[in-house]
Symmetry: none
Subunit: 421 residues, 2 copies
């Protein structure tokens, strides 16, 4: 079974947007054992689209198309698909009802162009989009089954998993091999170190392939396996993941592709404990990540993002003499911030960050990339200093936040203190 992947849209073809959808779709198809042969991106031009659909229809078995389902005149996927399939467009009453209900729920005014999204090719099967107004659809053009999805990545990702992959599994010419992968997440060792530690592992499992992916500031270890049986794949990947974890030690924070904040949340929940944050240089990012996990209100009470020094003294009780003597970026201030946040709301744990994210504000003694993490817990107050070599604010906020979460993970899990940065 050969697949082509097709992205539509002037913004992709003109380079205004980088197409991340096609890589996601390719990985998902590969997991199913489908061979991806080609990607294409085509502008919002009716002739060019009809042309691309016709060409694909004669050469591929399956094609996933993204984009062009919106309400504007640029959105031409349905019309082009109908032409390439030699049919017309017709109103899908259920699609219209869904769009109308969505607009009603939002109390927005619906206009004629929104109705356009309910017109699908006559031979198409509608694919529901629970996250947006544009329904997707599936139809055959020549020998190829097409799946049309919205270009909005989160809508596409969900519909691909729920509406497309299950249908591909039912096709007559479906692949008989499966391709499975598993992801371990690590923090605190560089890509080269991780690569060295896991080298030689592929040879121990037939068909296993290892890939490293540096997704700043993490390094992910991906295990891929192609085999005839999904249960067998699961067992082999599980054993291989265990071996990788043995080699990398406590720098692995998840064997199950969990985010670090989800791991920390799970550990807090298991212990029935609560958390208060005091952030300076991370500017609310630790809090944003913690609260991105559903159910965080069970253990997360507060983050005091105290950018100004007088916010640190007034809200967290950091002493003015500590600030004057050691400065805002110091282990002493970090400890007082963590304790202050913890005591302000009676949390079990207080965690703080204070540092220099840059691009300006660094000194010789405290260069950009310096951060102190404070931890206040059942066993007292501590602080940790890390130094990272990055000049950019955004990267420093990310790695500072990850470092703070990792300090808390290690304390909760009773692991050794971190040594990185």
């Amino acid at each position: 079974m050969i697949a082509w992947i097709l992205a539509t849209g002037d913004e992709v073809v003109n380079g205004a947007v980088e197409d991340t959808n096609s890589a996601h779709i390719a990985r998902a198809l590969l997991e199913e054992g489908v061979r991806v042969e080609r990607h294409m991106a085509v502008a919002d031009d009716l002739d060019a689209l009809v042309d691309a659909f016709t060409e694909t229809g004669g050469r591929a078995d399956v094609c996933v198309v993204t984009g062009g389902l919106g309400p504007t005149q640029d959105d031409l996927s349905a019309e082009a698909a109908a032409r390439a399939a030699g049919t017309g467009l017709s109103l899908d009453p259920e699609a219209l009802a869904w769009i109308e209900a969505l607009f009603k729920a939002m109390d927005w005014k619906m206009n004629e162009s929104n109705r356009k999204q309910a017109y699908l090719p006559e031979t198409a099967l509608r694919l529901d989009n629970p996250m947006g107004t544009a329904p997707g659809f599936s139809l055959d053009i020549n020998r190829c089954r097409f799946f049309f999805l919205p270009g909005v990545p989160r809508e596409m990702v969900r519909m691909l998993a729920q509406e497309v992959i299950p249908r591909i599994r039912l096709m007559d010419n479906r692949p008989l091999e499966v391709f499975r992968s598993r992801t371990l997440r690590t923090f605190g060792g560089g890509e080269a170190w991780v690569g060295q530690m896991v080298s030689g592992l592929e040879g121990e499992f037939p068909g296993l392939k290892l890939g490293l992916r540096a997704l700043f500031p993490e390094v992910q270890v991906k295990l891929y396996l192609r085999t005839g049986d999904a249960d067998e794949a699961k067992r082999v990947l599980s054993r291989a993941a265990g071996l990788v974890a043995d080699r990398l030690g406590d720098r692995v924070f998840s064997l199950e592709d969990e985010d670090l904040e989800a791991v920390v949340g799970r550990l807090l929940r298991e212990r029935g404990q609560t958390l208060a944050l005091a952030e300076s240089c991370t500017g609310g990012l630790v809090s944003h990540r913690i609260t991105g996990v559903s159910g965080a209100s069970d253990y997360f009470l507060l983050s005091a993002v105290t950018y100004a020094n007088h916010a640190k003294t007034r809200l967290l009780g950091v002493s003015e003499s500590t600030l004057a003597q050691h400065g805002a970026v110091s282990g002493e201030t970090a400890r007082e911030m963590a304790r202050g946040a913890r005591e302000a709301v009676g949390a079990d744990w207080g965690l703080s960050t204070t540092g220099i994210a840059g691009p300006t504000g660094g000194t010789e003694e405290k260069p950009v990339g310096t951060v102190w993490v404070g931890l206040s817990g059942p066993d007292g107050d501590r602080s940790f200093r890390f130094r990272f070599p990055f000049p950019e604010r955004e990267r420093n906020k990310e790695i500072f936040a990850t470092s703070a979460l990792d300090v808390l993970r290690r304390a909760l899990a009773g692991l050794e203190d971190p040594r990185y940065g």
Copy 2:
């Protein structure tokens, strides 16, 4: 002059790597007035490559190909290009001399596979690569002039600018025009509304093209202009941007492609005023966005992310009777939070969010997607209620945060109250 852009490589087609080269090339070609019609990505397979080059040769005037020039067996671009052009490969002595000199300078041992990189199609013109061992080349296949560049982004970027663009400018069928773009950023109207409001505008400026891009929760309006003169392009785009802004009114928050948090920061700085936040449902995201702007410490003092009710009372002085009577998600609580944050640090403005981001926690009266934004400023305290239809926590956090920033932008700029959601 029509261009196609072609990326080669299994890693791109399998989705292990996202292709950023093609977007870069598209932008560079577009600036020269070249119309980009299609991108393709093709696996490292000789037949598939010959096929793609042949197809392109019959349909495009110019094609930039990346990847496949390395020393390994996977690197098939030269061989496939020669086949598609109906010629053979021959050793380019100057390319070989360059590769040998490079290996000698690096004190590396050269092997037979490195010599392979010096074999180019017989009809090709070599393009020097000052940053790597693989030379590029140019040749004609059918009606199309091809430029083959390495896949390594920094090598590709340099060779595109130095070797490809100057040659395209000299081609007989070169475009006599330039292409320029400009981006306006809006919030508060859906894509369909924006599309309706700006419809017909293209006709008022010859050569102008409008594109809408929904980048949740914003809608961006992109203006593209193709014209003979760069200065003229700037003037026309400026006038067109003004007209778009007139039609869309105060839902446009930037005519210069600024982030909303940067606009709010600029307004605060111009007024010499300061800001304190009190966040509940946005969980630190407003703060994270505000502190993502370099220099934010000049105007940003505090965000109290008070997830727990007792954090709201203790740190912000929200009264227990307000919480008991109206609930945490209410206009009253939002106002008290905003005032509490403002007074805690003596800021000019206090801005708060309290709502239900989901996926759980909604009620009939206050469904998931409900948010109250509180504003406390020189003219007193107010609150605004918005309702959005999204079930996902992440989207709600984003649109709640954007709504809060937009409430503040409107207050700072003296605009009307928002009506969205």
